[in-house]
Each structure stands twice: as C-alpha cells, then as structure tokens.
Amino acid sequence: MSNSNFTRRGALKAGALAGAGLSLPTLLRADGGYMNAPTGSSVTLGFNVPQTGPYADEGADELRAFELAVEHLNGGGDGGMMNTFSSKELTGNGILGKKVEYVTGDTQTKSDAARASAKSMIEKDGAVMISGGSSSGVAVAVQGLCQEAGIIFMAGLTHSNDTTGKDKKANGFRHFFNGYMSAAALAPVLKNLYGTDRNAYHLTADYTWGWTQEESIAAATEAMGWNTVNKVRTPLAATDFSSYIAPVLNSGADVLVLNHYGGNMVNSLTNAVQFGLRDKMVNGKNFEIVVPLYSRLMAKGAGANVKGIHGSTNWHWSLQDDASKAFVKSFGTKYGFPPSQAAHTCYVQTLLYADAAQRAGTFNPCGIVEALEGFEFDGLGNGPTLYRADDHQCFKDVLVVRGKENPTSEFDLLEVVEVTPRAQVEYAPDHPMFAGGALGSCNPGA
C-alpha cells in the first residue's frame, strides 16, 4: 500500500496556484486597466522587422527609421517630420512625458517567427505597441496576435488588400497603401501611355498579397477596356521564371503584369527582359511590362532592367513637399543615404502612434484607437491624409513611378510620373475586394 498523499484535488489546487503565479506578471502589467500600462518614467515600443531572411535590407531600413523616430520623439536630432506634422502635440518630450525606449524583434519574414518575436516583446519587454514588417502574411499574423493580446499594431510595409480588408482588426492600423490603390492609381496612367486596346498577361506570386494585387489590377485594367489573357500563379519560392515567361511570348498578350515583390520581382523582371519581351512588337504595339508595386530597394536588385517600367509606390525620397524634404534631410544626414518607402511608413506610424497617445492622454489601446479613427492630418509626406474609422486604412495620394532612364546615383532609380490624388484611390468600406471579416472592438488586454 502506498503512503503517498498525492491526490487529484491536490494536483488541481497546485495547478491553479501555478497558473495564477505564471499569470501574475501579466496581471501586474494590466494594472492601468490595459495591457502593459507603463508605470515608470519610460514607455517601450516594439519594432518587429525582418533582420534576417530575404527582406533583411528592407528591415534594416525600417529599423533606422524607427530609431530616428524615437530620437525625434525624445527631443534629439532636428525633429524631422515632427516639425511639419499638422498635429502639434509632440514636443520632443517623449510620449505623455515618458521617455521612449524600444525593443526589436526579428520577423524573419515568417508568420510564426514574427508572432513569436511580437509575443516576446509584449510579454517579456512590456511593449505597448508593435510596428514594422515587410510582408502582408506577417502583418496579418501579427495584427491578429496584437488584437488578442490587447496591444496596438501599427503595420509597416504591407500592401495586401486583406490587411485592412477581410483580416482587419480594431487594434491594427495601416498607413501604407494597398493593392486596390495601386491599381486605381496606375490604370489611368497605363491607359494614357498604352491605350485601351491591350491584352494583359499576369504572373502572380501565389500568396495573399499576390492574389489581391492581381485581382485589383486586373479589375482596374479590364474596366478601361483591357483584356486579361491569362493569370498564372507562380510559387513564392521560385527563382527562375523563364518557364513562366516563355508562354507569354505566344499568348497574344502585349502587356505583362508582374504581381511580384522582392526577390520574385527582381528575378521575373530580369528574366522577362532577358527573353526580349521589351523589344517585341505584338498586335502592332510595343510589348510593355508593368510592376504594380515598386520598391527602390528591390528595384536596385533588378538594375538597368527597371528602366522605363511603370509601377506605383507609397512614397519616394525625391518628393519636394516640406515634410518629405525634412524627413530625407534627417534620415540622410544620420545615415548617409535617402530613406526607402518602408522606412518612411515606419517612421510615420511611430509618430502617428505617439501623437494619438498624446491626444488621448493615455496608452490604453482603446484610447489610441479612438484618437486614430477618423484622424485627418497632413505634413507627413503624402499630403492630406485620413485614417478611416471603418477599416483603419490611411487614405492619401499615391505615386505612380517609372524606372529612370539615366540615374545620377545608385539611389536615383525611380522617377515620379504622377501624384495620384487621394480621391481617385478611395473606395467604399464595403467594397467587394475588402469584404469579409469585421473590425470588431478594441481590446485593451485587461
């Protein structure tokens, strides 16, 4: 006979005690009525960017922008866009008088890794806000995590319609534009350049961003009279696109739309140029290539192949408004080269979060949500901008750009062809491309 006094009831009690003990740090952090309420003289922001993997260079640029934003928030440097921002709440005294500190995580451009690093920054470091990222898959995953945890997510570079469409969340906000906006800005320019009688062939990266980009640009070009010859999905891991490019030659298409980003875009565009598509005449017209989403950092990888090719971008360092000039000056003086669009959106998101907290008078996510919803602002580089309450998407001007024929430096790869006004890229909150999902209500996490 055993003399052990171990009982099921005892085990349950011990488990309950252990659970309570483990959750104690979280309970303590929720002492302001919300998750990770800062109690000391500082507040911690979490910057979750790709520090390894294929988008590490873009992540590094995001991190530079975050560091610059923190420096400006704490009163360092020349203040950058804080001087041009229409809201004058930020005075260089941190946020709500608390010094801004930050922690960083590595998303590796993988959803699981990004969630793990965000979770760590929330639970171990007490971050009140998570920002950054270079992929829509990652943004959607981290946004979901932040919603569950009761933390604000200020998305970095994410262009899929889904981020503020079917996967939108009350705690998530996107300053960056989306696939629909790219298409709405590009279509009229393409119409003027190439006419209405065109046959388009789409090569599309087979994941959330590619699907929504393809849907958006196909709808916009079909609406102006173009015929869509084919839509071909390519594996995200593909490196050589020659076998996908070859069928384009005999398809009757006279335009190739590359719904690719990053390494995919670099390789597919390079392959398309190698196969002489740009020198071809089809249906009595010059064959054309379109890259709906451009990135200067990525365009650099494609070298001379980008020359003369049109696309869209969220922001470009060559803009001559006071805000853009102020940001380029701050960033360029500190780092020696101009910022990317990823850096711009991350810098702006940090200022917008800080300003919202300042105006709300709290770091409570629900206060931040209330302050950002419907917020109209200017002076951050894209003209008058609205953070729409219905879906937490920013609405602002969009840039149509073209690969520059005669660049004067390694940064001078794109030239702005047109600044498409905000009104042209707006859409109804219940637009079918953004249907499904619900914003829900803000979660303070306590």
């Binding site: 190698q274 990888g301 192949n305």
Partner: protein, 343 residues
C-alpha cells in the same frame, strides 16, 4: 510544338545548373563518401565571385560636380572608375562589361582554396562519422557561409549583367523553320548551356583520360586496394574536393547574369540538386548529369499553362513526384551502382 521546344530549351539551361551542382556533389560523395550539404553554398560563393570582380572593376574616385545636386542638395559627387580613368572610357568600360566572364579567372583559385579549407578544416574530421552527422555539419556550414556573404553583401539581390554583346535574345524559331517570335531564347542562357557542357565534358575527360583521373576512379571503386598499392588516395580525393568546389563555383559565376545573386541562392538549388543526385543514382557521375537535365526539362514542362490547367500546382511538386516514381521503380536511381549507401 514551338511551346514544347521552348520549354525544352528552358529546361536545358535550368538543368545545366542542376547538373553542374549535382556533378560536384557526386564527385565529393563518390570520392570522400561525404554528403556535402554545403555544396549549394559553393555555388552561391561562385556567383559572389562575379559580384566581387564587378565591384573591384567599379572601384572609383569621386569628383565634385557643382552643376548637379545630391539628394541632400549638396554638390553631387560623380564617380569615375579607375579602369575608365586608366584605359579610357571605351577600353575601361569594356573590361567592366566583361566582368562576369573575367570572374572565372578569379573564381577558380578562390573556389579551390575555399574547397581546400573546407575539406581540411572541417569535413575531413567527419569522414568516418555517420551520414547524418555529415549532413548536420555541412548544413550548418552552409548557413554560416550564407550569413557571412549576407554580412558583407547584404540581403538584396545584386544585379550582375552579362557582357553587352550577350544581352537580349535571338529568334531560335526562325532558324529551324518556325514563325518569327515563336521561339525566343536569351543569348546568355545559350552561353550557359554551352559552358555547362564544356565543364561537364572536361570533368569526364579528366577522369577518363588522365592518370590522375584513373587513380581517382579506381579509388572510388575500391579505396582499400588502391591504398595497398602505395598510392596516397586521400590526397587525390582532397584535390577532387577542390575540383568539385571549382565546378560549383564556376556554375555560380556564369549563373550570375541569369538571376541576380543573393545570399540564399545556394539553398534554393541545394535541395533540388540533392534530388537530382538521388534520382541519378548516388555516386554516379553520368547519372547526376542525366538526372539534372531530365528534371530541369520536366520542371519547365510542368510550368506550361496547358499542364497546370489539368494539374494545378504540379510545377511546385513535379521534381519530387518524379523522384518518388523513379525511386519506387529503380531504388538505386537511374544509374546508381549496387553497394553505394547500402549496408
């Protein structure tokens, strides 16, 4: 018909890269018995030899041009390469333009040295260890090598162009009686295919027609007996490791204009190349080459819209499906020998 021919051509250049990497892998496995997962990294280092030579050729000095402004509004610093300064814009420009072919001269000693250091410094300690240990250590080494490259060259792809004369494409269809524009093929891919054929033939000729090669082949067949004859087979095998590294490196150098090199490109090829080796038959050099071209062509065919409309997603799995079918019907691969990797 033209679409089929075009996909065969596409498959041949893709297969060339697979065959060259798989050839090196098989050389190392056949001689040293090592499953070298760092072989893809050697391909990647080769491509970065081309990038390095391009950068060396583009080393510049700066002059101030007050008539132009940089992004901060300061007078623009205009860069002029030393090569153009020394030899004139035409001659200097031509040397820079030919940086990829010239990088072959740079890559051969670099790759042999990298192979030698890799083999003597790390891999030789794992000759008698199980294959699982070899895979783990070489896979780790591959990650270390790619992180080193990323540290120095960044994560973004780096454009490394072919010489001007080989840029663009030609109408292959017209040459064989098809309509114009039916089969367009880039010049540089044809160069790559020819280069791969040359390297593969050279390796086979070296092994077949030289005394060194004869000894190596004998060592691959029966290492112990060759050793008993007083021949230092280990030394020859180390040299073969260097040759295999150079083959992978040269494949990488010439691949640089096809797709801009990035630090991860070795991993992209590694898994496929291993499938090629297994399908060809472990230790079989002709098998590796045959399987490389076969799988390259099949991969291209699987990307055809006509095939994808019947079997969606087949382009992503075709190589593995073929590998399963071949291994089920011919467990030793297409040209595998009895006793290799078998207890």
């Amino acid at each position: 018909m033209d679409a089929i021919l075009l996909q065969i051509l596409n498959g041949l250049d893709k297969g060339s890269a697979y065959a060259l990497i798989a050839l090196g892998l098989t050389l190392i496995f056949g001689t040293l018995g090592v499953v070298n997962f760092a072989h893809g990294a050697l391909f990647m280092i080769g491509a970065f030899c081309a990038v390095t030579v391009q950068r060396i050729f583009n080393i510049s000095f700066e002059t101030i041009d007050p008539s132009q402004k940089d992004f901060l509004g300061n007078p623009l610093k205009v860069k002029t390469t030393y090569l153009e300064h020394w030899f004139g814009p035409e001659m200097g420009g031509s040397i820079i333009d030919w940086s990829v072919p010239l990088a072959i001269l740079f890559a051969i000693p670099v790759m042999v040295a990298v192979g030698f250091i890799m083999e003597r410094g790390l891999i030789k300690h794992f000759y008698k260890r199980p294959h699982a240990d070899q895979i783990l250590v070489t896979f780790g080494l591959a990650i270390v090598l790619q992180e080193i490259i990323k540290y120095f060259y960044g994560a973004n792809p780096i454009p490394t162009g072919a010489p001007e004369v080989f840029r663009g494409s030609f109408d292959f269809g017209v040459l064989i009686g098809f309509d114009p524009n039916a089969i367009i093929y880039p010049y540089w891919r044809l160069v790559y295919f020819g280069f791969a054929a040359l390297i593969i033939s050279s390796v086979f000729a070296f092994l077949q027609f030289t005394t060194f090669g004869m000894v190596v082949r004998a060592g691959m067949a029966d290492r112990e007996t060759v050793g008993l004859l007083g021949i230092n087979i280990n030394k020859r095998f180390t040299i073969m490791f260097g040759i295999a590294a150079a083959v992978a490196g040269l494949a990488g150098v010439m691949y640089a204009p096809i797709n801009s090199p990035n630090y991860h490109m070795g991993m992209d090829f590694l898994v496929l190349s291993f499938v090629v080796v297994v399908v060809g038959g472990m230790g079989s050099l002709p098998g590796a080459v045959l399987a490389g071209f076969l799988l390259g062509v099949l991969e291209s065919f699987a990307s055809m819209n006509e095939i994808k409309s019947i079997l969606p997603g087949i382009d992503q799995i075709i190589i593995y499906v073929v590998a399963i079918i071949i291994l089920l019907t011919r467990p030793r691969g297409l040209m595998g020998r009895k006793g290799v990797m078998e207890e």
